[in-house]
Symmetry: C3
Subunit: 300 residues, 3 copies
């Protein structure tokens, strides 16, 4: 993936520990960022609905003074008149400074990038990637633990279909982390994401005791071709929390559908709503990098 991530964010493969450190520094300052994106326009082009992700980008852009064109109903519109994704992107690029794209096809981001005159941010392409989610997950670990090294990270749930887990596991390889995978056999992590030294479990069990970060994902029913292949037995319980480290951090990309009972929300280690806020700051940092830094570099 030779594409500069400041031109378009397609995959976590575009990032290095150095670029990530720079982004996180900027995200730390995001809560107090001035409205430097005034006059800029972000288009939220969502072929699949995602209130969470589209709202996060909307808020990030607004907080920096920019404007947002929300397009959440592409199925009704030009596309139903037979327009290609490429032509829709070419057109919206004329109105926008950046396009955030969620699409059901794995090759959608690549196709968009190949024709767009403005940066594309991949906000989920089919079974492919969702790189800004992975970055915000990593940023959440960083904010909660203050470091990215010397951590044992346990990923639990649907590890086969969860694009978030795939992307996050790639990022973790850049740091000195131990990775543990917990899933039913039918939803286990694909081999290409496994590294030597990883541990694989079929249930959480004792794997909780040495865990510094427990990252739980939803059984993504809507990505299945058949209805619900497994029942959800991959939830975390109060008993699990009782055996976990006192500074363990519990993350979840949300929405949850039972994997974490509400009674755990009040546990200080439950960080999944703080994670939402970290995501806002992380996306503000990405927008600043993509929309402002190139201009500043152009001037020098």
């Amino acid at each position: 993936m030779g594409l500069d991530w400041r031109k378009s964010i397609v995959s976590v493969d575009q990032f290095t520990p150095e670029s990530i450190a720079e982004i996180f520094q900027l995200a730390d300052k995001a809560p107090h960022a001035p409205k430097v994106l005034a006059g800029k326009i972000l288009t939220n082009l969502f072929y699949e609905p995602s209130t969470r992700t589209s709202s996060s980008f909307h808020a990030a852009m607004s907080k920096l003074g920019g404007d947002v064109i929300p397009i959440n109903e592409v199925h009704y519109s030009s596309v139903s008149k037979g327009e290609t994704l490429e032509d829709t992107v070419r057109t919206l690029a004329c109105y926008s400074d950046v396009i955030v794209l969620r699409h059901g096809s794995d090759d959608a981001t690549e196709r968009a990038v190949s024709v767009s005159e403005v940066p594309i941010i991949n906000a989920g392409n089919g079974r492919g990637e969702h790189p800004t989610q992975a970055l915000l997950d990593l940023y959440s670990i960083y904010c909660e633990h203050g470091r990215l090294d010397n951590l044992t990270v346990t990923l639990m749930g649907d590890l086969k279909n969860g694009r978030t887990v795939h992307s996050l596991s790639k990022l973790l390889r850049m740091y000195d982390c131990k990775v543990q995978f917990v899933s039913p056999a039918s939803l286990s992590i694909p081999k290409k994401y496994l590294h030597p030294g990883d541990r694989v479990y079929n249930e959480l069990g004792d794997a909780i005791t040495n865990t510094d970060v427990l990252y739980i994902t939803r059984i993504q029913e809507e990505r299945f071709f058949r209805p619900m292949e497994v029942d959800i037995s991959y939830m975390v319980t109060s008993s699990d929390m009782g055996r976990a480290k006192s500074d363990m951090v519990l993350l979840h990309p949300l929405p949850r559908v039972g994997e974490i009972p509400e009674e755990i929300d009040s546990d200080p280690r439950a960080a999944y709503f703080r994670q939402v806020k970290y995501g806002l700051y992380l996306r503000m940092a990405l927008l600043l990098e993509i929309l402002i830094l190139p201009e500043m570099l152009d001037r020098t």
Copy 2:
């Protein structure tokens, strides 16, 4: 209802004549308010569509310099992935300074308030309340008549199901008003809203002659379980207007579906579109009270 209305607006029961007077003073100045909400974000979270109410809040926020995240299609989105109202609210609270919530369930506002880190404004919860509509109705009476005492207010239409009428009738009790109810027997005002001295009619008839404010509501077909229990004979006619006081004020929360014929629109007493504008100013005042005044108090 012990909740401070500046924390969240749930019900008209939170208001007193003193707080209402303060809000109305602010609403009077709203047309010339500076853009003091720059940098603030309002989320319009509408589980049921309402162009009128969502547009009113959108415009109120925009005119004060704030930004709006419009969410009008919750049924497509996270919720269809099984997320609870509570989690949706917790998430959006991370992005927003205030959430305006319209929902089909009577207990929705209460549930949202119980988990939200930012103020919730109830914009209609099932058969419950719609407090900002009732406040704007009262503000309209105040703007048109210059007072809230010594008035005879006649409420006509579907008095059984109309949450607007229920809330407005509660507010009127704070002032020295006579209240008259006109409806078919099957849609009469529930007993708990009746006070000693109220008059109840099955048709408008002579009740028009002493009326200072005639407030008409739509037969809310979509709240019925059976289609249309009555035909609409509770419309106002030119003949009624001929017998009414020369300074009577005709109000309607809109949309109308035949209760007021268009020929009456040009009558200077027809105030229902001025009412829309009063509503904008009233909501601007509420946003200022909720989003700015707490900050000012914090500083002192």
Copy 3:
């Protein structure tokens, strides 16, 4: 059409060469226009979806500092409660400084204008007009050729149903242009748009060789009552481009569905995406004229 276009834009018949020249001068400066519409609100009231047109107006308003209330789902909302177009417009006029209206009925714009307290911009009314599209088409010709006289303009495609073609052909009559029409017999240009000296063809053929502007339109399937009356043989080919003038300009209102193969996109004469950008500037100019110039005149 005696209505001043600065009050409401209904039809191309409202414009003269003088007013068009003034608008184009303003459009030329639009890329550097300051945010003079801060505090103004545009409502995009789209009864029929049109991502392209609504996004164009949204971006135009945002770039000038104004705010937008996007209403793309009227079918779900008040209207489904039985509200008339007139009442919806009266209400939204209370919140807005200008309303952009797309509606399926030919008489929608007229009805809206008759009741609105703020300017209406017709963004497509049934089989009627789409005047801002025609103006941006004309502006595209002006930007590409630097003049509007001494040009041969060839209009090709569905000339019977395409409201864009009808409006553009009217505007071209104001200038010293030759007009050629190319369409299947069943979709030929209605007689009322034909002028003496026009040429009419059933295929492009040699008509390409003297053409300065080739304007192609989509076969608008969704306006048919029967499915697809003709197959699309009215596309432009590389061979056609080979026979065309070296400074010919190829325009298309988009979306295209096969009339122009993608291989032609890289031809410098392919101007249809530049046309999108010209459209943005043209609409910025119209908004400035409608929202700011009256205020300036009021002050003098």
